[in-house]
Symmetry: C2
Subunit: 411 residues, 2 copies
Amino acid sequence: MALLVHKYGGTSLETAELVKSVAARIVRARGRGDDVVAVVSAMGDSTDALVDLAHQISPEPDQRELDLLLSTGELVSSALLAMALRDLGQEAVGLSGQQAGIRTERRFGQARITDIDSKRIRREVEAGRVVIVAGFQGATDDLEVTTLGRGGSDTTAVALTAALKAKQCLRYTDVEGVFTADPRIVPDARKLVDISYDEMLELASYGAKVMHPRAVELASVYNVPIAVSSSFSSAPGTMIHSEALMEGPNRIRGVAHDLDVAKVTVHGVPDRPGAAATFFEALSEEHIRVDTIVQNASAEQVTDLTFTVAESALSRAMSVVEPIVQRIGATGLETDAELAKVSVVGTVMRTGRGYAARTFEALHAAGVNIDMITTSEIRITAIIHSDSVVPAAQALHKAFALESMGEDLED
Amino acid sequence: MALLVHKYGGTSLETAELVKSVAARIVRARGRGDDVVAVVSAMGDSTDALVDLAHQISPEPDQRELDLLLSTGELVSSALLAMALRDLGQEAVGLSGQQAGIRTERRFGQARITDIDSKRIRREVEAGRVVIVAGFQGATDDLEVTTLGRGGSDTTAVALTAALKAKQCLRYTDVEGVFTADPRIVPDARKLVDISYDEMLELASYGAKVMHPRAVELASVYNVPIAVSSSFSSAPGTMIHSEALMEGPNRIRGVAHDLDVAKVTVHGVPDRPGAAATFFEALSEEHIRVDTIVQNASAEQVTDLTFTVAESALSRAMSVVEPIVQRIGATGLETDAELAKVSVVGTVMRTGRGYAARTFEALHAAGVNIDMITTSEIRITAIIHSDSVVPAAQALHKAFALESMGEDLED
């Protein structure tokens, strides 16, 4: 008999019928002798509906009030799921983030968990109850309601798994697991049996939508195993843990793609110390994440500076960059929003060789033009035209034989 | 400069536009130099939608979980109204019942306020903020969320007015005030300038929907003046306070009617001590309120027992009454759901005479048959056939000249 943390996403709780079928799944887990603490997201797109309502009231709703507003979505889910369990004869209790002891810093909209006081949850579990915790939210010491920002409910689930020393986090969503690529653009994509934290983190950071990088990072820090599977089927999912033992360590793990990419090029930046840094400091202050940066070799005391940002942040980025271009006397500014990234990821790159060459060859053979390149220890990312995403992802998937769990490729 | 407690009902907050116009009203009050604490209900019929959702999950949803669920409706309103105020440049903060310091006993669905710790509200008001408190809810010492039951938001507003020693409670709703009768059935009905707590309590208890008796009672205990007016107009409303000075003390104040009335008659109840009490104890245990009770003079050691309950509670009442009829050996059971009450109310009855006679005369002249009569010190209620409600209310309204603020009637 183990303690398990379940996590149910919004699509798994979209209707009363779905809430009831989640309750039935939890009852089956209890029937196998396990204790369950379940973390829930808001039903369906109810969070979007609340955000929309807030924007009808104010173009820039106050963040403290927005947190109070948005926290209600997960409260609704937790109360309803607890009711559904009681209706099946299973004692259960729904808890707000505050009631569950989830304490955060006072930073509305993107609070970090500082501490979990798990006394109440433990007491309820010992009394034989299933505990349903509203995800995505916590409270400060002075009772202010905070939300954890993107990936918040996953973060709640992983943090609770660690705090409760639970056996694992079972994350139920509307996809069956982590795939070698997005099956919508690579039909051969295969569901992985398992994947390491580092690999999942790179895939998630570079476009795989399965799980927010923040929750994966937290899981990695506390070594929390996460089983990702679908609440709509009983098919086995993908295990995220410290090493991908079942899939074998010597393989490229997957291909990620991301269409939310734009490029900014500043021409004629004066080649003096700190000139480039001015841009990045100002963008950072506005919380705009800069990804790839390329600075061309300078001639005649000026240089060209190119970097990428999310396409969805481009207009905000330009309102930061334009005044600086004026101020420092750069000669030109150019943007390209029609870009995308494709990435191959695998811890095998730490030890193996030739992965970069094989990546370029595959893209070249598929007629894909590479605009920029960026790499990490376990990832190679090509920035390409957004029209080339499908052939690029398919070519890379094929080049590394990701469709099968076959023998490791030689390098 | 005074501290005022505003209270806005669900119809005043039904849409984003209405929330904004409530914010504008509060800003105008601030402009007159007053501090404002506003208590809000859930938007429109959102509470009904949540109840409906709960019933899709479970035919008898757990009351603790239902309270957690329903509390979100008022949280949404408080966050949105605070956002709307900030959008108008007025500092504001939305608070849950718990954050506002509203402590209750641990009785879900119908908790009573035990204590208000107003430190947080005072601190916010002193900092120049408008405080928006989610009505209808509180929390126990161990952080459980409770709701206050029917009339809950009005109760929150009155309790806060008392706790904060505010000047008065301004209650905004979709009606312009308290009327001498329901204008939908008595076209001559006139808006009262003021009314006493006792009179309002009787009118509310006997069918006037303006305000829940519970909140009126609390206002009476703490001598909290309540100004009832419409959030959709700027017309002056009705003041509820200890004495109706403007309307003059020597008048009948109003006519109330209630269609939610049913009669139960038990024939042949053995005439021994405690036989009748058996019924009323059992009904009370099921929280079914018994109103008028008539026991006919006994002959041959048996008696007929007649009482009224709300028509909406009749089927529950019958499931209590039927087994008792069997057990004590009564000879018959009969119900009539086609009944109504009309009541005339006025503190003048305490000192004046002839009001009962005038009531019967007026009903008789209008051809209304009286089934039963019940009175209090300041009220006369006739139980009549529900088809007679309109002529009965119109006849009584006319008999006591309620359409005008004219001279007191002689008696």
